[in-house]
Amino acid sequence: MNLTLNPETFVLFPLGKKRFAFLAGDVSELARPDQAQTFPHTTPLLTGVVLRRNQIVPVADVAPALVGPDAPARKFYLVLNRPGRNKAGRTAIPVTGECELTQAERLPVTGKLPPYVCGLLSLQDEIVEVLDLDRLMAAEVRS
């Protein structure tokens, strides 16, 4: 039987002890934590905005939703271009450590995983969930 491998490139990022992944094509930059600013709003997950190259980019702190309230301090921002959207769709995700670029084959989701997990990566000694940010944020809005 021939298996056709179809590796894609992902950005792995840590949230506490666990790592997650986004498609590398969706990530535009890894940024140092600028001073986040905030103003009144009612959207869950969003903690404020940061200024990146004269653009106002919303900050979505997904850590509590993914690893619970005890996630360590976030050190960097991963800035994502959400697929099919213009620059108004960019979102910054605070992460707790350095990120890594990796090529791997995305495996289908097995078992009971939340709908925002759109694939799994089988790495050396860990299984990493590939996230769909749109679905993650929509799930939080609904809950």
Binding site: F39, P58, R82, T91, M137
Partner: protein, 167 residues
């Protein structure tokens, strides 16, 4: 064939706006200067019982009743001592705020990022950056909708009729 997108562009609009910066609950907001008729002290407010929790006072000015909205309650933020009342132009609405900072000209207005999906989409026309600080430009018509003004006017008529009957 040209297909136009209905999505908001992230590119800031370059139109010039003169805004008034005001504060409420520790936050700074901007409102277009032309949307404000008068800024005054809070003297003369009368208690006004209503089902809308953000409206607790009214003001009679030049024979016209203004419904006074608490900015802090409107934006669902901490209530702090208020000192100024902004009377909006063209509508019988006053907005109770902590203070007025200054007038300012802004040259750039960015659409609210799409990630914001809550009530803020109604509250704000967009965001601007003033001296490195992101400031939302409020939509004056969001403080009280036409329907809410109609309901408040109706409740005034009802209470005035009841008062007349009692008298």
């Amino acid at each position: 064939m040209k297909i136009s997108s209905t999505r908001h562009s992230a590119r800031p609009t370059r139109k010039r706006h003169t805004v008034i910066l005001f504060s409420a609950g520790g936050f700074t907001f901007a409102i277009e200067a032309k949307a404000v008729d008068e800024i005054r002290e809070t003297a003369g407010l009368a208690t006004f019982a209503t089902r809308l929790s953000k409206v607790e006072h009214s003001l009679i000015r030049q024979g016209r009743r203004y419904f006074v909205v608490s900015a802090a309650r409107h934006f669902r933020i901490k209530e702090t001592p208020t000192s100024r009342l902004m009377l909006l132009a063209g509508v019988p609405v006053g907005v109770l705020v902590d203070g007025i900072d200054r007038m300012q000209e802004i040259h750039s207005l960015q659409a609210l990022p799409e990630a914001f999906r809550g009530e803020e989409r109604n509250w704000y026309r967009g965001l601007t950056v003033i001296r490195g600080h992101v400031v939302p430009l409020v939509r004056p018509e969001a403080f009280l909708s036409k329907a809410e003004i109609t309901l408040l006017n109706a409740s005034v008529c009802t209470s005035e009729r009841a008062a007349a009957v009692t008298a």
